[in-house]
């Protein structure tokens, strides 16, 4: 499995995953929207010159509360699965244990998009043990749902 993933990764990773990352500040309107206790739909996030990159930057930054990076990862998956940077951005989250929560946000969001799920599922099933059980349970539950 891992060797297969090694072959796939170069296809999806055009250059460094977080080149040209936006610089985030605490008053960023997207961060503000993601902090809400009752989340607004991803489609209602504030306008941003490169929302995909901003969401990615938020996801990989230590921002409180902890659900902000998770929501950013979920919205990135919901809104930009076809972005050429998407797969290169999100696949490391399935292999690095310290980003496994982001992987879960991406995976659960991708369950609504068969094409994205097909690409991500092998990464999820090969994830570090701590997260793999959670990923597998979500995949299996989705398969069991009519």
């Amino acid at each position: 499995m891992l060797s297969t993933l090694s072959l796939l990764l170069p296809l999806f990773g055009p250059g460094p995953a977080w080149a040209d990352e936006p610089v985030l500040t605490n008053d960023n309107p997207v961060i503000h929207a993601l902090r809400a206790r009752d989340p607004a739909p991803c489609a209602a996030l504030p306008a941003d010159p490169d929302l995909a990159a901003t969401l990615h930057a938020i996801a990989v930054t230590d921002i409180a509360p902890a659900w902000v990076p998770l929501r950013a990862a979920g919205c990135l998956t919901e809104l930009f699965p076809a972005d050429p940077r998407f797969i290169g951005w999100v696949t490391p989250w399935f292999t690095d244990e310290d980003f496994g929560g982001l992987g879960l946000a991406v995976l659960t969001t991708s369950l609504a998009n068969p094409e994205t799920r097909t690409v991500l599922e092998p990464f999820a099933r090969a994830a570090p043990e701590r997260w793999r059980a959670l990923y597998t349970r979500r995949l299996d539950a989705a398969d069991a749902t009519p």
Binding site: A36, A64, A133
Partner: protein, 382 residues
């Protein structure tokens, strides 16, 4: 004022018809002073009513001196059920849905109607007064999922009564249940217990002695929205038979890794139903690395207090957008982000944590006297 004769102009429909008499399918009482039943200051009655052809029904119930009540409506068609009016023994309207449903202030979700189960706790605030002893009437309605009146629907009605004059102190019991596999996650039990300790500390500030017992529940940790209901919630609560709050800890809520917690309703039912729960996602609090920092545990404890605060009847003092507020007199009706964060940012029920930097958020550990009064009037708080 007596009940109006204009039927409820629902959110999505035009008028449907005139009121007609209700059908009471029967009444029985439980909740006496025997065995495992609640203490004498707490009693519960149940009855079943059937809405008329126009989707309307009445529930009569007798209030004794010093009691407050919670009425839980559960329809048999899994449609929408709600409260239109509450009438006191003199025929005066104590609560009218038209005063609240379209306005900018929120008092109770009971007037909006809810899928399957709807709860009204009364009184809610100090200005609602005390309940006069005698026969009160709740005028309710049954609707289909498109908000059209739906007649001939059976509705189970559970009325919980609490006799308690002390509104500056009380106690509440909660059951915290771990979903399948959650206890096995590294660090989760420790973080949850530390979060509970902070939740207890917060509630103690407001005169509520919170006791928590821990349990396990055989439920998939990917939890559905609370309002969708989980049969095991009702079962677990019924087994305890002590009218507790139920907090369920899972991995995810509503299929998202980032919904941090959810209360079934404002207020939520104190009696066992499929929606009688507050759900908490441990992952949404632990974040990307799945490990809890001290700051994350603090927010976890505030989430527990915030979500149960909804369950006990509190709305956000202001909603993000700054155009809608709660109906509490001593919470500021601020109108922009800056003033709202300044005046209400440390309030437990503020709609989002106010963070002074990327990683530091202010403690939200304040409630106004009016908000505490709502909490203390919840029938599940003795």
């Amino acid at each position: 004022m007596a009940r109006v004769t204009t039927p409820r102009p629902l959110l999505l429909i035009t008028l449907m018809g005139l009121l007609a008499g209700c059908k009471h399918a029967g009444t029985h009482h439980n909740g006496d002073d025997t065995g495992d039943n609640p203490p004498e200051t707490f009693r519960v009655e149940t009855q079943t009513v059937t809405s008329n052809n126009h989707g309307l029904f009445d529930v009569d119930f007798e209030v004794r001196e010093g009691e407050r009540v919670q009425i839980v409506l559960s329809d048999h068609k899994n449609g929408i059920v709600g409260t239109e009016q509450l009438i006191d023994p003199d025929g005066n309207t104590a609560l009218d849905w038209e005063d609240w449903a379209g306005g900018h202030h929120s008092l109770t979700e009971a007037v909006y109607g809810a899928e399957h189960v709807s709860t009204l706790n009364w009184p809610i605030r100090a200005q609602d007064g005390v309940m006069k002893p005698g026969i009160w009437t709740l005028a309710g309605d049954t609707l289909d999922r498109t908000y059209n009146y739906d007649g001939k629907t059976d509705v189970d009605v559970t009325i919980a009564y609490r006799k308690d004059d002390a509104l500056d102190s009380g106690s509440v019991h909660a059951i915290l249940a771990y979903c399948t596999g959650v206890r096995d996650q590294d660090g989760v039990v420790d973080a949850i217990e530390r979060g509970v300790a902070y939740w207890q500390e917060l509630y103690a500030k407001w005169g509520v002695d919170l006791t928590v017992e821990y349990a396990d529940i055989d439920v998939d940790p990917a939890l559905p929205d609370t309002y969708e209901g989980v049969a095991e919630y009702q079962t677990l609560l019924a087994e305890h038979a002590d009218y507790s709050l139920l907090m369920v800890v899972g991995d995810l809520i509503a299929g998202d890794a980032y919904v941090y917690g959810e209360a079934a309703a404002i207020p939520g039912p104190i009696v066992p139903t499929e929606i009688s729960a507050v759900e908490i996602s441990w992952i949404a609090h632990a974040g990307a690395n799945g490990k809890f920092s001290d700051g994350e545990i603090g927010i976890l404890g505030e989430t527990m207090a915030h979500e149960t605060g909804h369950y006990l009847g509190m709305f956000h003092p202001v909603e993000d957008g700054w155009q809608n507020w709660d109906a509490v007199e001593d919470t500021n009706d601020c109108t922009d982000m800056g003033s709202c964060e300044e005046k209400l940012g440390t309030n437990l029920m503020f709609p989002y944590p106010v963070c002074t930097s990327m990683t530091d958020c202010e403690a939200q550990d304040q409630l106004t006297d009016g908000q505490v009064g709502i909490m203390q009037r919840y029938v599940g708080v003795d």
